[in-house]
């Protein structure tokens, strides 16, 4: 799929995620950008590299009871519980408006079983206007006692293979950071056919209200995101980009163009902006603008020169 103008723009910000060409490396992260429409008042959506929509499951999910979010030091915990309209209503209600905004749409999917991932992918396979599928493997595998797919190489690979078989768009596998060695999982999904990996999803955390002596989140535990986790994300992106040959999409605490550059130097081909959208809804577009200025100022031939450009030894 081609979303870039046929004539290369003055500043070359283009990057490729497998067969998908993006006009720039700035994407928005799943669950933090709604179905994009929410950001129309603030952002020229067509200027973004891509948008990733809220995770979609086979059937609609109501999500967790409140409270679902709590601020932490330089971060936030969320336990949304993957509230979403389900794949059918997503296609019928959301895809039209998404197609209208003229930006590549990446659909983030999740499931309780490998079979569920397969079915969602099949259902999405022939829907027009989907640029790629991003597979959230941080979900618990109900058949394996709730162990997250993303923490066991074999399970991660099985989900990847199932999705790959079921659709023809590029498949991005979104890795969980809650593992001993993320490169092992990355290599497993690469071997299983993933076209790219994106990382990191949230770190598992918890907050307690010492007044009530109860967990703050109804779900007890939640996912930590925001600037607090950036150092962990950057390290994992660095490690994974050295371990796999497929493109790596960096996620975690990215707020400004400086963060984008750091993730690209660490090895990311593209990045996703998550929590920062809540604080500054224009964060993604400002990152595109900043990156464009940077490439000009630094007289780079293209933004791709940054990828993995970290200087390690003297």
């Amino acid at each position: 799929m081609e979303f870039v103008e046929s004539k290369a723009p003055a500043v070359d910000l283009r990057v490729s995620i497998g067969s998908l060409s993006l006009k720039n490396p700035i994407m928005t992260a799943s669950g933090t950008f709604g179905y994009a429409k929410e950001f129309e008042p603030y952002v020229n959506l067509h200027r973004l590299g891509a948008v990733v929509v809220k995770g979609i499951s086979l059937l609609p999910r109501g999500g967790n009871p409140p409270p679902r979010i709590i601020e932490t030091s330089c971060g936030m915990l969320n336990a949304i519980g993957l509230e979403n309209v389900g794949v059918e209503r997503f296609i019928s209600e959301k895809m039209d408006s998404l197609k209208g905004v003229n930006v590549p749409v990446v659909v983030n999917i999740l499931g309780d079983t490998v079979q569920e991932y397969r079915e969602i992918s099949k259902r999405l396979a022939d829907v027009d206007g989907i640029a790629a599928i991003e597979v959230n493997i941080s979900c618990p595998n109900v058949k394996k006692g709730g162990v997250a797919f993303g923490t066991v190489p074999e399970m991660a690979a099985a989900v990847t293979a199932a999705v790959k078989e079921s659709c023809s768009v590029p498949v991005i596998v979104k890795l969980s950071p809650n593992v001993s060695d993320i490169t092992v999982i990355a290599r497993a999904v690469e071997e299983a056919g993933a076209d790219a990996v994106s990382l990191i999803n949230t770190l598992i955390g918890m907050a307690i209200d010492h007044h009530t002596r109860r967990p703050v989140l109804a779900n007890v535990i939640g996912g930590l995101s925001g600037p607090a986790i950036k150092p962990v994300a950057l390290r994992m992106v660095f490690q994974v980009s050295q371990a796999v040959a497929i493109p790596v999409i960096g996620i975690g605490g990215i707020e400004t163009v400086d963060d984008v550059i750091q993730f690209m130097l660490a090895g990311a081909t593209a990045v996703q902006i998550g929590t920062a959208n809540f604080i500054n809804p224009r964060a993604s577009e400002e990152a595109v603008e900043g990156l464009s200025r940077y490439v000009v100022d630094q007289q780079l031939r293209s933004v791709r020169e940054l990828i993995g450009g970290l200087i390690l030894a003297d």
Binding site: T32, G34, P41, G63, P66, P67, R68, E83, F278, P281
Partner: protein
Amino acid sequence: MSQIQEKTQVIRLEQLTSDIVRLTLDAPEISSIASPGQFVMIRTGNTSDPLLRRPFSISQTSSDGSFQILFKVVGRGTSLLSHCRKGEYLSVLGPLGRGYRIDPHRLACLVGGGMGIAPLLFLGKTIMRKYPDQGPVVVLGAKNREELAPLIDDFADLGLKVHVATDDGSLGHHGLLTDVLKALDLGPQCTTYVCGPKPMMTAVHLFCRSKHYGCQVSVETSMACGMGACLGCIVPLEKGGYGHSCSDGPVFDAEELVWSL
């Protein structure tokens, strides 16, 4: 829904009590499109701690392009905000959410407790302007005179009759604001527009139900984005499932919500 991210300048910061502050911001775009019951999300500092914006009801807009919020210092965000200076710029998102739906055919009764009084001024003014004959009834309550007194003047200035209650009896009725409400003769057709602590809203809702009055309540939940993106701000709905208080609310018909009675 049109919403704006505006760099607004601080026009005035008034310390109404030791911990209640009124902030006036120059925000022509937001002010011109806001309606009563809507809120704004304000960045209270320039660093990543606190990370998230804080929600505040718009308590008044002015034809000079400014609007006001009225807030209580309860934590770090509001503390930072109470230290901003005249001339400083604050990033504001707004106006956000669905506000009060004014029913011109029924007597309006504005019921506010504590900082819940904030959005009602905007509502009172709007009703007075659009339906000058309406003359809404206002019932306000707070802990004590110190907290309540500075908040009622604006209503009185509108020419409204304000009924008040304080927990300690230092101003108005000694006791609950719902006692005052129940003692009023509001006739057969009335809608209450309510904002305040949950127990107070629950009591008002029950009273309205018993009287077959309309009841619109503004709910507070924790919010990360204020614009329907994070799905963090839910309230359980009577019909099942959840509403999102930032986009479906913050004002809901009380009957729509689940009340733990």
